[in-house]
Symmetry: C2
Subunit: 126 residues, 2 copies
DNA sequence: ATTTGTGCAAACATTTTGCAATTTA
DNA sequence: TAAATTGCAAAATGTTTGCACAAAT
């Protein structure tokens, strides 16, 4: 992987505001500094960074989001505003081994996702 | 909601083989009985059935899958062949309350998803 | 000099929509 | 006959790709 100014800018954007932006959001933010960047470049670099394990894709049904924090943590999706928040507190899952027995295959990862209403939306509803 | 022959056929397909088909898979299967059905009708009915809570959508990143079993259970995605299996054994998640405290909002649901290699693919690799 | 990265436009895959015709209650 | 459903084609979305050119090693 060679060095690239555009890729740096993409990483910078991902690090600056950890709101798990979509490819399009990354594109808009990088454009403030590099107005000539194309969406294709953003997609290509995001895919490359994922492949290298430098960032992770957090599947949000039809619209992928990207997280520069690859440490083990969970995500909370607000069903009201659509924003995605990090959850760092430790969570444990019991019954994992039984699940593996049931499927007969090999479970390599378990992902937990929370849905609900975020603090702001909850306050706004009152 | 009025009665509809096509919607019945869609539900029948979903009930017959519980492999969590995509919209396109449902379309192909309904077409065996009703060759004139259009993909738009499939999508419209799937959306409607979801809204009514009769089926659930299980997000598989860019390609949605549908499950007629709305009871509480988990899914196991095989990363090798792409098939999706049910996991019915009980699973418990600890730390849920702490997560709610951390986000400050209200968690309405927690979803667990397993990834790995299914029994068949595991056997095929040997 | 060779490989890697880029912009652009076009292609692609999945899902949604407007509309006139058909079916259902 | 009024409301819901359908097929079709077109549009909308989100993402990927081919290609010629530019940048990095």
């Amino acid at each position: 992987m060679k060095h690239s100014t555009k890729r740096d800018a993409i990483c910078e954007v991902l690090g600056a505001k950890r709101d798990h932006p979509t490819a399009d959001m990354v594109y808009e933010r990088v454009r403030e500094k590099y107005p000539e960047i194309s969406l294709a470049t953003v997609y290509r670099n995001l895919a490359q960074l994922c492949a290298e394990g430098k960032i992770v894709k957090i599947g949000a049904t039809g619209r992928e989001r990207y997280d520069i924090d690859t440490s083990n943590h969970t995500h909370f999706f607000c069903d009201e505003c659509g924003d995605v928040y990090d959850v760092f507190c430790p969570l444990t899952l019991n019954g994992y081994k039984n699940a593996e027995n049931e499927v007969g295959g090999e479970i390599t990862s378990a992902s937990i996702t929370f849905h609900g209403i975020c603090r702001q939306c909850l306050a706004a509803k009152k």
